[in-house]
């Protein structure tokens, strides 16, 4: 997979393809919870990214993706049932509330979660992942070493994944 070699265009195409695939995968499996689909989809995409080092190119990609998706669905449902046991849901009358919202918008806002990351990690993600600066440029701007920049971005995105799980 070219995306694993750091090819930005190939990696973006792969993530787009996974977005479409996983959205329908999630819709089929979360039939009663249409409002959760986009939330979980964003969580899944972040997981595919953060865990991409666990993919072995000798193994079928679908087996890897689906194992992650199934794990995240089970994890999601378990957390959901736990939080529902704690606070009684009061939106029973409107099971499809929110179904008209833009399907590509999740309920939590990744941008907000990003702002809540520790300053250094947030700054690095803003420079490199949003601003498109190279790792070398970010290293110059912050006075950090290049490997520290990479580690900072990696940690920041992992922390983001943890925050996403905690929000719902």
């Amino acid at each position: 997979m070219l995306g694993l070699a750091g090819d930005e265009v190939a990696y973006r195409a792969y993530l787009r393809e996974m977005t479409a695939h996983l959205r329908s995968f999630l819709r089929r499996r979360l039939r009663g919870l249409p409002e959760d689909v986009e939330d979980l989809l964003q969580e899944l995409l972040l997981a595919l990214h953060n865990q991409r080092h666990t993919y072995d190119p000798a193994q079928p990609l679908t087996a890897w993706v689906h194992a992650i998706a199934r794990y995240k669905i089970v994890d999601h449902l378990r957390r959901r049932s736990r939080s529902e046991a704690l606070n009684e849901p009061f939106d029973d009358g409107e099971p499809f509330a929110g179904a008209d919202h833009d399907a590509a918008e999740a309920r939590y806002d990744v941008a907000t979660l990003l702002r809540e990351l520790p300053d250094r990690q947030r700054q690095l993600i803003e420079y490199v992942k949003i601003g498109g600066a190279s790792v070398a440029e970010a290293a110059r701007l912050t006075g950090m070493s290049e490997s520290a920049v990479k580690v900072g971005i990696h940690r920041g995105l992992r922390k983001l994944a943890t925050r996403m799980r905690g929000v719902r």
Partner: protein
């Protein structure tokens, strides 16, 4: 943030994956865990003073091979359970075959022995401490393997925790065997396995608590 924007964020300036990184971490975890266990044996328990003669006894090597085979099977299971979508394949067989072989050998030894000697073959002189010392020596490897798994993506948390415990238990047993004066197959079939089972059960219990991501 829209999903499309997240995709753009993740793919911008994506770094190539370092394929050797996982292997290095694996070797580091196994190496550090075993080294600490061996150091604990050398400093705390002392080497078996009869080790020089023991290495001439075939049963010594059967015992070492038994522990090493299980450590290998445990680590193979660990490597597979750490990655989503990998099948266990031959791992269950690699665990079961040495165990059954040791039990058969123990049974043969017990059958051949005269009835009054049988209990001594099972209990030896150190059965009371053996499993607990093995479990204790498994602790450093167990911590290292949990650290390893937390950097990867196990999807079957209970099984992954159990594999970490089992691999750590077998490494603990291997380290303990440098101290242990017992070579009878019935002893190993009972107490060594119990020593490995303790961290395995603890790992299965802790897995879902420690490995969620």
């Amino acid at each position: 943030m829209k999903t499309e924007d997240l995709v753009a964020l993740l793919s911008t300036r994506v770094e190539p994956v370092d394929a050797a990184h996982g292997r290095r971490r694996f070797l580091l975890a196994a190496g550090v865990g075993s080294a600490i266990a061996v150091a604990l044996v050398l400093r705390g328990l002392k080497l078996n003073p009869g080790l020089g003669q023991a290495i001439l006894v075939p049963m010594f090597w059967v015992r070492e091979a038994f522990c090493a085979a299980l450590a290998g099977a445990g680590m193979m299971g660990l490597a597979r359970l750490a990655r989503p979508g990998r099948r266990l394949g031959i791992v269950p067989a690699a665990v079961v075959i040495p165990v059954v072989a040791m039990w058969l050998l123990a049974m043969a030894v017990l059958t051949a022995a005269s009835p009054p000697d049988r209990l001594a073959l099972i209990v030896g002189r150190t059965a009371r401490v053996c499993p607990f010392l093995i479990a204790l020596l498994a602790v450093p490897s167990f911590i290292a393997f949990i650290w390893l798994l937390r950097g990867l993506a196990p999807t079957r948390l209970r099984l992954a925790g159990a594999a970490a415990g089992f691999a750590a238990g077998s490494i603990g047993a291997l380290a303990y065997s440098l101290h242990c004066p017992e070579f009878a197959a019935p002893f190993i079939a009972a107490w060594y396995l119990l020593g490995m089972a303790i961290p395995t059960v603890i790992g299965a219990w802790l897995g879902p608590r420690l490995l969620r991501w």
